[in-house]
């Protein structure tokens, strides 16, 4: 009889299995938090680390399989993001979007400006819309996975995505401060 190991049905209860979970999910969790908060990178990494440390503490309570573990981690991350938002005044937060790697300098500047602006627009969206957009585009989740995760119908999620994109487009038009849209016009002409 083993008196010292807690009996658990969790597939992530051992350090080895948890390590596997971490390696598989570090990037999705990081990008999810990035999508919700818009950065900065250091804060997002802190929240990512905290998500996995919390998950480690709660690993014995997780009774799903490895596939559903991502959703479980995302829920932990969401709670942490909400807590972090409560602690931070919106006025003091800054949206700093890091440029994508391996890009030419000019493209970096453009991408950075566009993403910075887009994240500013995203920050004004209701939490649910921002989360769905993040899951769909930054994590590449399918609509049915998102629907299952947020307990909604697929149709509902599709409608929200469509409406949110329209809203982002409208907001872009209303708030475009540095005429960033010109870039898209140029791209269209080139293609």
């Amino acid at each position: 009889m083993n008196l010292f190991h807690r009996q658990s049905n969790s597939p992530i209860s051992t350090p080895v299995s948890f390590r596997d979970l971490f390696e598989r999910n570090r990037l999705p969790v990081f990008r999810y938090i990035y999508g919700l908060t818009g950065g900065p990178q250091d804060d997002v990494e802190d929240l990512t680390a905290e998500t996995f440390l919390r998950a480690w503490k709660a690993r014995h309570r997780f009774d799903g399989d490895m596939d559903s573990a991502t959703g479980w981690l995302i829920r932990i991350a969401k709670r942490l993001v909400i807590d972090a938002y409560r602690r931070t005044l919106p006025a003091t937060r800054s949206l700093l979007v890091d440029p994508p790697a391996k890009s030419a300098p000019e493209q970096i500047v453009i991408a950075n400006e566009q993403m910075r602006f887009l994240f500013t627009l995203l920050a004004d969206l209701p939490d649910e819309q921002r989360e769905i957009i993040t899951l769909r585009y930054m994590l590449g989740w399918r609509v049915n996975d998102i629907a299952q995760h947020i307990s909604a119908t697929e149709n509902n999620v599709s409608v929200i995505i469509h409406r949110t994109l329209s809203k982002l487009r409208e907001k872009w038009a209303d708030n475009d401060p540095e005429n960033l849209s010109a870039v898209f016009t140029q791209e269209e002409k080139i293609s």
Binding site: L27, R31, Q41, V44, T48, L53, M115, Y137, M138, R169
Partner: protein, 256 residues
Amino acid sequence: MKPIPDEKQIEELLENFSPNTSDRLDQRLSTAPWTPRVVVRRRLITATTFIALAFALLVAVTPQGQAFAQSILQFFIRADQDSYPLQSWQMTPPAQTSNESPFKYSVQAAEALAGYDVLSPVEVPFGMVFFGASYDEKYHIVAQAFGQSADYLEFSLWQQPLEYYQPCGDISHLCDNMLGGNLAGASADIQTVQIGNLTGEYVEGVWSLTDSGPVWDPTPFAKTLRWKTDKAIFELVYNGLDLTRDDLVALAESIR
């Protein structure tokens, strides 16, 4: 009309945005509990704890073990019983002492009188203040008293150069200096503690001087921690329930 990105372009922008973690995340989680290094270390600690527990059990249950345990205590001596008959020194009236508090010096003044560096905690426990220091010229002991009010000195720190240290662990003689009295009751739970890289001993309890003789009272209200450096022996005495053994150890570690 000003051109704006369409929904497809916004989708592409979002899809192509793929931020990556930096080395900072790995550094941040380098000591996470699931990392191989930490797992190995935890196993080592578990194994060591098992050995220590087995040893403690051996010490606790066998007479040889108890004798061995006593032999390795540095600062306290375990009495052979918890109560003794009335002692002759209990019947001798105490010498007349002045009403003046012995804690009448600043640390600097006590240091000047003692002629050695007097160490103090960097921070005193919440709500307490420093009341003063005393100097015992016979035993070269400097004591510092702390508490919430002058009427209630909860915590004191005693320091004596090693060359003057004289243990007096004998119930039949009154020990007239605080640091010398090192006799604890037979049942006293004398614990070895780590204070930084020094080893100390901690005990809860006090001899209660009843009319029928001294009786060991293992009250958690009276806590004593002793340790020594290469120059001096120290004693931290706390009368209260708010601070734990670990708090006292932390205080001891903070003295400079």
